[in-house]
Amino acid sequence: MSPALPLLLAAFLAGIGTYGVLARRHAVLMLIGIELLLAAAGLILVTVGQFSPDPHASGAVLTLFVITIAAAEIVVALAVIMAMFRTRGEVDLTGEAQPAAPEEQPANSGAGTVTR
Amino acid sequence: MDLPLAVEIILKAVVVLAAFLTLPLAIGQTEHKVMAHMQGRLGPMEAGPHGIAQLVADGIKFVQKEDVTPASADRWVFKLAPAVALIPYLVALAAIPWSAAWVAADVPASLLLVLAVTSVGVFGTLMAGWGSGNKYSLVGGMRAGAQLVSYELPMVLAAASVAMAAGSLSLTGIAQAWSWWWLIWQLPGALVFLVAAVAELQRVPFDSPLADSEVVFGPYTEYTGLRFAFFLLAEYAGIVVMSLLFTVLFLGGWSGPWSDTLGPLWTLLKAALVAILILWLRIAWPRVREDQLQRLAWLVLLPLALVQLALTGVGVVVWG
């Protein structure tokens, strides 16, 4: 098969991911954009690894590394989001633009009891 | 057998589907009966001889019920959740071998496939918890999410230990490499896997996502009729898949006397015993509290799985 198809898909995913990171102001939604960017990177690595064989299997191995790093990254990012939610009661990155909804106000203590 | 590929695929799909629809019913009926007798009762007796058709009757009842979608539900998420919970187990069942020849989809890394696919089933519960628009469902869904993510780790590690011992990621290869003394060598891993499997199935004693005395019925609170039946089917199909997986990984699958001809029967027998053990736990034990549950996963099961992994590594290096 032609390598152009997967590469174009990867480029498209990268574009979508960029849009997601730039256009959204919800912390978790920005994370989704970043995930798509990482997915695009993984797809490029796998495609190149599958089409031009390499004795060190670098395409597949590096993709596995990317997946692992993504897991680490998302854990830290979510911890930051949780801490942010506890202190500010919202996950809007524009800050004062949107006050938290009324029912989210008492969530500070509520969320804390649920987590641990 | 030299059948055309398409015919073979269709035939296998039909067989897997039939197994998928009948085995969970058998488990459900066994649960009715075993639970009843363990509590000094008889269980269902009216539908068919000794209540053998009770679950068919239940199914007919579920079909007749109204399919209610709550007003505040997230409609599509709510409606799709049962299917998302059910289908992963169907795929997993297709990849589990009953004997060296009896496997519907013989893929090279079938262990990884089964583990990966069953981990997707979480989304059914999460979607149900969110989509119902009910606070009890939401709490239950979050409990389920936390529980499944926590127990997946020890489960995968325990499975990895067996894969390491067998030197194969294929379930067929693992079962073929099995020999009886693995029962002792892999015992900690087997225990970890069993406990984690029960937790993944959200069965007692790890049923706090569904705890009826705390959160009504957790994510399934708002479901009625056929969609609720799908969740029940998913639960029992999950028991089937986990019992078969445990059998193949830790009990040698089809190995036994005359395994050439009786292989699938041995698998079925061992899996049935494991399934009955899982049912037994539900009847005998109380529910584990949410924080105890997390503690068990991270402070007991995870170290135990790591010890098992080290043990296996040493064993493979020394005797391998």
Partner: protein, 205 residues
């Protein structure tokens, strides 16, 4: 689980005990009785339904008045008995017209049976008298009488003979079951309590 006070070993022992108990129960036969197929053998003094021995009732209304939810309905009228001896006085006695118990209201407290001074009400062990319509649970005196059949012998008044039995045992102070002397005595005792109040409808005034 393992860090609780009882200690891990004890917790494990408890879990094992749970498994053992359920397994033991599994090995034993079940306690279930298949009711519609197999009749239950109830203790003979089971509180199933309230039976009426009509001959003993003097329509004194005690039961109806004591009933906490007013489910007993009694109607009666007075009749005059001609004097049995020459120059004797004519006596009056109450004749029971209606004795109904509404079992849709009855809560089976048994107070009516306790307060009945004349042994006219009994517990019978029958329980299968459900009806399709709640109004049909208002049972009248012939129906209440049929339940006398199953009233245990031990609770029956002395000298009472079941209708099926061939020879009624005529004891000295056994007035029940036989019409003539019993009516006389029952009537007199009813007058003795409060004859005017017993009948809800005054027949002769």
């Amino acid at each position: 689980m393992n860090e609780d006070k009882p200690g891990a070993l004890q917790a494990l022992r408890g879990l094992g005990k749970g498994l053992a108990t359920t397994a033991k129960t599994l090995a034993r036969p079940a306690h279930t009785r298949q009711y519609p197929h197999v009749e239950p053998d109830l203790p003979e003094r089971s509180h199933g339904v309230i039976a009426l021995l009509e001959e003993n009732c003097t329509s004194c209304m005690l039961c109806a008045r004591e009933c906490p939810d007013w489910c007993i309905y009694i109607d009666s009228h007075k009749e005059t008995l001609e004097p049995t001896t020459e120059g004797g006085r004519a006596r009056q006695h109450n004749v029971l017209d209606r004795f109904d118990i509404d079992f849709s209201l009855c809560m089976y407290c048994g107070i009516c049976i306790e307060v009945c001074p004349f042994d006219a009400l009994f517990w019978a062990p029958d329980f299968a008298y459900a009806e399709g319509d709640i109004r049909n649970l208002l049972h009248e005196k012939p129906k209440l009488g049929t339940w006398m059949e199953r009233v245990p012998d031990a609770t029956l008044p002395e000298g009472y003979a079941r209708p099926g039995a061939e020879t009624p045992a005529q004891d000295a102070d056994g007035p029940v079951g036989v019409t003539e002397p019993s009516v006389g005595e029952a009537g007199s005792s009813a007058e003795g309590t409060d004859a005017g109040d017993t009948s809800s409808r005054e027949v002769e005034e």
